[in-house]
């Protein structure tokens, strides 16, 4: 009994210790951003590997999600004779919810896991220690550019996702199911609000970008420097950031649209 209470206490302490280390790292990352901004080449390299290389999975998924939305939406709306509103439905769902959330989940799987594995392996092979001894701060040189690149990439990727999704919905709704072309676009234009819908979506994806990259970078930096430790850290990145995205999405939605 005592043992169980002890181990419960120990794991609670471990949890809060990790949480503390995570926040200290976040502060260090934020402090490191000015030194990254003066060397844009570092960010550009990371934008490529974090953002550009995630583009294909985002675009393809966006297109399919849009097509499914087109099909499902049409089948429901046609019962009420409201299939002309398909464009609005597809666009609002994408811009407010699916764009930021699905992009963040895909981003966590594609780029987040890669970031954790890369940083974790650099730690395991003493590359981070070697940098420290060369008087190069790994937080500023390695972690901060990746963090910033993730934060910048996420809203851009979410925008691509939504844009391609709208096209996917158009392809199915207008191209295959015969919804009126003009109605699809004009209703969308009339009903989607820049502030309420698009800006809120962008805010969501900025928050998700921050959280997912922070978790990914922290897990890599905090990984136990063995192959098992790195593999566990990679798994944790995907699990924790997916849960964080879904939880935060609820909170943000409640705040924005509730």
């Amino acid at each position: 009994m005592i043992n169980q209470i002890q181990s419960l206490g120990r794991s609670a302490l471990d949890f809060f210790e990790r949480l503390g280390r995570g926040h200290i790292l976040l502060l260090d990352l934020l402090k490191g951003i000015p030194s990254v901004v003066v060397r844009p080449v570092l960010i550009i390299q990371q934008l490529y590997s974090v953002g550009v290389l995630s583009l294909i999975i985002i675009v393809v998924s966006g297109f399919f999600v849009g097509m499914v939305m087109g099909l499902q939406g049409y089948n429901t709306l046609v019962d009420f004779g409201a299939e002309e509103s398909l464009g609005v439905m597809v666009a609002l769902s994408l811009v407010r919810e699916l764009g930021p959330v699905v992009t963040a989940l895909l981003f966590a799987g594609r780029a987040g896991s890669a970031l954790t594995a890369e940083i974790g392996l650099m730690k395991a092979t003493e590359q981070l220690s070697a940098m420290e001894m060369m008087a190069v701060d790994p937080i500023r040189r390695v972690l901060a550019p990746r963090f910033l690149a993730g934060f910048i990439s996420m809203p851009l990727l979410a925008a691509m996702f939504s844009a391609v999704g709208v096209l996917g919905g158009f392809f199915v709704g207008v191209g295959l199911l015969g919804v009126d072309d003009g109605a699809y676009w004009s209703q969308m234009q009339a009903s989607v609000d820049v502030y309420d819908d698009i800006y809120n979506g962008v805010i969501k994806s900025l928050v998700f970008g921050l959280v997912v990259t922070w978790i990914a970078v922290f897990e890599g930096y905090d990984a136990i420097p063995t192959s098992e430790g790195v593999s566990r850290a990679t798994t944790r990145t995907v699990v924790h950031s997916s849960l964080a995205v879904l939880g935060l999405d609820f909170i943000l939605t409640a705040l924005m649209f509730g």
Partner: protein, 267 residues
Amino acid sequence: MEENNTLVKVRNLKFARGGRMIFDGVNLDIQRGKVTVIMGPSGTGKTTLLRLIGRQIKPMEGTIEVDGEEVTTLRHRQLYELRKRMGMLFQNGALLTDLSVFDNIAYPLREHTNLSEELIRTLVIMKLQAVGLRGARDLMPAELSGGMSRRVALARAIALDPMMIMYDEPFTGQDPISMGVLVRLIRNLNDALGLTSVVVSHDIEEASSIADYIYLLSGGKVVAGGTVDDLANSDSEWAQQFMKGKPDGPVPFHFQAQPYVSDLKIG
């Protein structure tokens, strides 16, 4: 021992990890321009000592002075300034795997200086020539053998012309030829560049052949210190066991256990 001739001065160093005391009051001095070897059985924290000197970790107690500066209390910026004057060779080289050999050696130069690419190229080639790997400049770290990686890492460690280099187990797992190369390089670079070298090792023969001074560590303390001859003729049982590689002595062959006979009877 002249005071101003000491580059690294460690006093009453205490450090524990996971509840185990690794250093319990270590005192040692490292002389400028000399090759100082720190030896001891595996697990005595030799690598930890180097990390403490470079302040990658902080001690619980005690002082570590490097070139007159107290490293345990340095601020971030001052610490990084000091590290520019320290080189460290990690056991596996710790080269940056996404950069070629050339770029690895150019890395500290590019990070810390505003030299032109032309000048950097000249410097890198000079450093590579010093370790005999000028022809390997376009290879990636994954294409190098263990010994070559360490030589590239050595070239990188001397890129900024530091005042001292710390070698972490440089001879471990090397074939006789690359071992010989490394032994010669450590001595030659030390003398030619006027460096101070700290070598952590348990390869007695190789380390002894280049050591100006040797410290033996065991049980969290310096148990003996002196030149190679001093230690070979030392009365200390411990020094005798270690230098001659005897399996039993002050460091027992058996790990701590209950008496053998009672252990057998239990089953």
